[in-house]
Symmetry: C2
Subunit: 554 residues, 2 copies
């Protein structure tokens, strides 16, 4: 009887009401499977943070239930948090060939090994406990991307993964529309659908469109060509290689992730490089400029990336020179516009010709626009729908889209990370919340930077700090030396001597007041100094540096 | 004879190879006039900075030559630095009516007054020394925008100002194409042309297009309408007011600059508000939701703006409620995308319906696209050309555009701020450089935050700081108390006690080593502590906080 009342739980740990760190828990009875385990990049206010990963407290508490982690594809926002999670949990991992290949590099970099990594080919099924997971081929900006059809005790869950509908994919591996239609016919209880491009009407262009543009550009170019794109976009790399080969150019790579991905993709057969076409970066001087294409990282203007270093003359092997043709084959991710623009400006200043999206058609998105999303909804025709992978605005628009397709309002759900969503054959609802959120990774520290530390960093970044040191006699309570003042990030001290003299006077006066009042507790002294000094500095400068009073006993 | 060899100098102090703080010096013999005097907003790495203004060292040195400052229009990037400049230089100012009106508010806020402010109507001329300056009406996203035709001893300089070619402007004040053609016929030596939209092919749509969209949206809306746009876009405000009136709604304003601009524009006759249509914000509760339109600041997601505060429930008078219709009638300026997106998400979360550029046509640019720029080039047909108002990429593309129109390469010039460009009837060239660059304004400080302070703020923002205090005996040189450690923005201390204990050990060991070596100079001690502690912390955390060792003598 208990069996009848069992409900399926869907618990997103990341990717809801945000872009990135996609991770979802599917739980039925005593079994859990996890879909994806990605990272996200820090928001502007997360000062000093390297990456952000999901909170897996819930999984650690329920570790004995976990049957496995399944991966839809090999992008960072789907696999990037795995090394951190594996340090806490030993989970078997199942994913398409390329995703597993990219994950292996990542684990090696983290000195993790001998994990249970299992390749699952698109089109095949695995059993994880009582769950059956079918990997269904979709098209996306990385080969081997899959949607997942998960058979559970209450019905089939269909997770679209990230996808676009590309009828002419570069690798000839078309999206398995037939199988999706078949799954839809048999009945899908719940679809979780990605929402990245839901605001864009129409269709995303096929990746093959970029190939034509590249071919045109390459055939007219007479100089060296440098081309920046996402390393993981193996289709794009293949088209660059094709265009290079056709136009009699050699290809090489620059930037760690570009080198890594090209190696993995080549070894696994995802990248087809004609003989004598690939050369090592160190050998470029053996060739004429018009014989070279350099595929590089840095399409987002990342400060430490290869192209950015070339543009600012900090790259060991490559210097941008007059006449170089540099192509940005990518769209700036929101927030990166100014970084990209800065690199473009620098490249122009060095005399390069730069081709970028504003002036040419050299990039297409990897995500489905509205008409493709509608196709997916129509084929899968789920009873319930949860939009995933998007900020609130995207999820909201995706809900509207589903409703326009005829889905009843009560069957469409807005979830947030940490929601425990329970569903049976008849209805679904949010029943509780579990811990979720952003775990910040800063250097070796995972989770040791929280709100207090970030608040201090923000304060320090805006107005700097002033340290005040006073040494006081243990016996008499009188000042022995000081007050000494040290400031950093506040004002240029040499030009602010009056201000500093004034500050010292304010501190002295505060100390005297305390002495006269016979108030000698250090905490009282410190607070008085802080308050008086803050008022003085704000009045004089309209700035509010962090003030750190230190009293030494001697 | 000396007269013959006199050359005209063009010296940009801002706006070249950057967006913002437009300011140009025109000098002939002993006379200087200045075109515009704008501010720019800080780049991401200018932590804690409020605004950026041009370096006017050159003008201060040559103050007796200055005949006047002429303004093309009233946008911040053309008038925003004037209060700061007036504190150092007393200059008569000439500009169109609205620009002067907006400037007056600004001067009042800075408690500056009794300056020589002079209104010049588009179509008229003024004499400044031997310069004759003609203000020629153009169309732009603010009324009363002008190009300038400046007659000088060597020929006519034509400065386009900011413009678009709007054949159906809202105020009916069409661009004076006839006069521009006439000036072109008479011969223009040099054109300085704005470059903001040079990367966009085709034409910018007329402002009147937005009116149709707004009217449609307003006529279908049944709830309260909030609409965010640039306060200075008086044409947009007029169209909002028209749509409100037509649909039986009252209009009010929120946000300081919105209130200010509406007041000024209304008083000067640039904004035509039908009787009984405008209400005070405090009176909105007297009306039904469907009778209200609130024009607000915050179209760029600025953290302290009215709309942002409404979205985060921090606004005193207005709270966003379910059903509110919020319209972003603006395009996010590069760098503001994420701020805007955050506000959109918050508004959706509060239950508002949000209309923004990705999903509707509710904004047009104020700047000329390629075909409009070509029209300007053809009409003015200058001998020489300097692209202005743009990053390097824009200036470069504008040079290419000029060359495609048949201008010889040697007549087109790439300048940067501080270049002294000399020109006579036959040729132009850069002859020298004068001081120029970014003067940073932080609170009351103008120019007291420089690279060292910014570098420290960046360092502090990324990894925080650790202060180490040791008190040592004057006589024996031995440690009396300490080492004490205070950290901020580094790690969450309560969870890092081992790390802190380890740090104290490292410092003690450093001090012992110094003592054993008999090295007692404080600078040596401090450097040793810094080095050892830095290594220790980096090894343990891969972070690099700022370390401030302080030694107190007792």
């Amino acid at each position: 009887m208990a069996r009848k009342t069992s409900k399926l739980k869907i618990i997103p740990l990341g990717g809801l009401q945000e872009i990135g760190k996609n991770m979802t828990v599917i739980e039925y009875k005593d079994e859990i499977i996890i879909i994806d385990c990605g990272l996200s990049f820090p928001e502007d206010e997360m000062l000093g943070i390297d990456i952000v990963i999901p909170d897996i407290t819930y999984l650690i508490k329920n570790r004995e239930k976990i049957k496995g982690l399944v991966l839809t594809h090999g992008h960072e926002d789907h696999i990037g948090a795995i090394p951190y999670v594996l340090k806490k949990l030993d989970i078997p991992i199942y994913g398409p060939n390329l995703a597993i290949g990219l994950l292996e590099i990542k684990l090696k970099e983290h000195r993790l090994s001998n994990n249970s990594l299992n390749v699952v080919n698109p089109g095949s099924k695995i059993k994880l406990g009582n769950f059956e997971v079918e990997f269904v081929r979709v098209t996306h900006s990385i080969p081997d991307a899959c949607a997942l059809a998960i058979t559970t005790g209450v019905g089939t869950i269909f997770h679209t993964g990230d996808f676009k509908v590309d009828y002419t994919p570069i690798d000839g591996q078309v999206m398995d529309l037939h199988r999706i239609a078949e799954i839809g016919s048999k009945g899908v209880l719940l679809m979780m659908g990605e929402s990245t491009n839901v605001e864009r009407p129409g269709y995303t262009l096929s990746e093959s469109n970029v190939g034509h543009t590249l071919d045109e550009i390459f055939s007219e170019a007479t100089s060296r060509i440098l081309i920046a794109t996402f390393a993981s976009n193996v289709h794009r790399l293949q088209q660059i290689i094709n265009a290079a080969y056709k136009n009699g150019r050699k290809v090489t790579t620059s930037g760690r992730s570009m080198v890594n991905v090209v190696n993995v993709a080549r070894n696994l057969g995802y990248l087809n490089i004609p003989e004598n076409t690939f050369i090592e970066l160190k050998d470029i001087n053996k060739y004429q400029d018009h014989e070279l294409v350099i595929m590089t990282t840095g399409s987002q203007g990342e400060p430490l990336s290869a192209l950015t270093r070339m543009a600012s003359q900090e790259h060991r092997q490559i210097e941008i020179k007059k006449g170089d043709l540099v192509i940005f084959s990518a769209h700036p991710i929101p927030g990166n516009e100014k970084l990209v623009s800065r690199v473009i400006n620098q490249l122009f200043e060095r005399g390069a010709n730069v081709i970028y999206e504003s002036i040419s058609d050299i990039h297409v998105s990897g995500h489905a626009c509205q008409e493709e999303l509608k196709l997916m909804h129509r084929l899968v025709k789920p009873k319930f729908f949860i939009p995933v992978h998007g900020e609130y605005r995207h999820l909201k628009q995706h809900m509207e889209l589903a409703k326009k397709l005829g889905m009843p309002e009560e069957n469409v759900f807005m979830l947030s990370n940490g929601c425990v969503f329970e569903i049976d054959k008849d209805q679904g609802k949010i029943v509780s919340k579990i811990p979720s959120g952003n775990i910040l990774v800063d250097g070796l520290g995972v989770g040791d930077v929280g709100n207090i530390v970030l608040r201090d960093r923000k304060h320090l970044s805006e107005d700097g700090l002033m340290v005040v040191v006073v040494s006081m006699s243990k016996d008499t309570g009188k000042v022995i030396s000081g007050p000494d003042i040290i400031s950093r990030g506040f004002v240029y001290v040499r030009e602010s001597e009056d201000l500093m003299d004034g500050a010292r006077e304010v501190i002295k006066k505060s100390l005297e007041t305390c002495e006269n009042k016979n108030m000698r507790e250090w905490s009282y002294l410190k607070n008085t100094i802080k308050d008086e000094l803050r008022n003085y500095l704000y009045e004089k400068t309209k700035r509010n540096p962090m003030i750190l009073p230190i009293i030494m006993e001697a």
